[in-house]
Symmetry: C2
Subunit: 235 residues, 2 copies
């Protein structure tokens, strides 16, 4: 049975790394002694080692030992053997490129289906959707494909930002960008505000956190979904 | 001799379409009777026809007749024959995909080199750089390549946005994104604020408009460049 936490962000303003998710993660990783961290998204160009240390610092509080996927000679085998997996945020283009290059994309898809507990934040959440085409990231590297894990049957826009009232900036709003996406693609896009996450258990998908999420569907007006909504119907 | 105006945005807050560029465009397109408009970037999913009408509305004031590239059976021939060219903004992934699909990317590169007067705004400016990898747009479609025209020997970030002081949003700032780009790519990136443009004449590149631009180079601290700076040295 699938078991995922898919978070908009790792960190809330004024909070510490993963802190706001602590209660949810205690339940999610209950009984786990080890976690495999996927550091490929390298936020700000941070090294794999430094990023893994950051994740390990948090999971030590849960009594969970962390290793980085980059430490293994056979990353596909490491994933198959993993007790639990966390993919950190950063640049989605880089993350997806590395997952394809190392052959780990299909293995990750498989172990998630089989029920290995998974946590994603930001870029690590983006890849849970059907494609990475609703990321906010810069295309700093050319990935072999935009197709991602499809652990949920729609796309995500993490760090969803509402239009800023009175803004004089003429660049596209997030909503305009998603509208452009829907001129060419049919799948729904869920805008997850910072502090929201999805809890996936089997085919059940629940919106968690303090905020509503914004749902965009092709040819329909955007809708607000209240927290604790069951969105298992969405596809 | 190359002759380009490469603008951060088509429209300033509170202004009309291309209005702020009017004095520059009068000189740039002096003597031109016709202009070929490339509407491929389709802002907000707008149709090619509607977008071309919008451009035509502006250029009528300059006594210039506009046709859309989509109206021609042989777009490569239309480009070769064009007296002047304008590529409008919208989604850069879509624009680049269409330029490759129609075989017009290399032809556009060629006619710009030969001296056909060119205007780009936003996505239409992005493609003047070496690659489209410093766009802000969403990857709504998978282009065959991120390589673009290289009409200038560096990359651009149009609609450049300074970090918002006191912001509680935890998504990456533009500066962080460009830093991530430079973890993997060597070319300089010029952040063009809304209201700035580059005037290219042969190998001479001058920064125009009321604002400074922000220059990012690999391994160096970002720099501010004053308007009217000659940046022909930059590569």
């Amino acid at each position: 049975m699938k078991k995922l936490i898919i978070a908009s962000t790792s960190t809330l303003h004024g909070g510490n790394y993963l802190e706001y998710l602590m209660p949810a993660l205690q339940g999610h990783f209950k009984g786990c002694k080890s976690l495999l961290f996927i550091p490929y998204a390298r936020p700000g160009g941070m090294s794999h080692d430094d990023y893994t240390k950051k994740a390990a610092g948090f999971f030590a509080k849960l009594g969970i030992t962390v290793k980085g996927l980059h430490e293994f000679e056979k990353p596909t085998q490491a994933l198959t053997d993993a007790e639990s997996v966390f993919t950190g945020g950063g640049n989605t283009f880089l993350l997806v490129t590395q997952l394809y290059k190392t052959g780990t994309m299909p293995v990750l898809e498989e172990i998630i289906k089989k029920g290995t507990p998974y946590l994603g934040s930001s870029a690590g959440s983006n890849i849970c959707g059907l494609t990475m085409q609703t990321t906010n990231d810069m295309p700093i590297i050319y990935p072999p494909s935009f197709k991602t894990l499809g652990a949920i049957p729609f796309n995500l826009n993490p760090h969803y930002l509402d239009p800023v009232e009175g803004s004089t900036h003429m660049g596209e709003t997030r909503e305009t960008r998603i509208k452009e996406f829907h001129a060419f693609n049919t799948q729904p896009v869920l805008g997850l505000r910072e502090g929201s996450w999805l809890e996936v258990k089997g085919n059940k998908v629940i919106l968690k956190g303090d905020l509503p999420a914004r749902l965009f569907r092709q040819g329909k007006a955007p809708e607000e979904l209240e927290t604790e909504s069951d969105i298992s119907w969405l596809k």
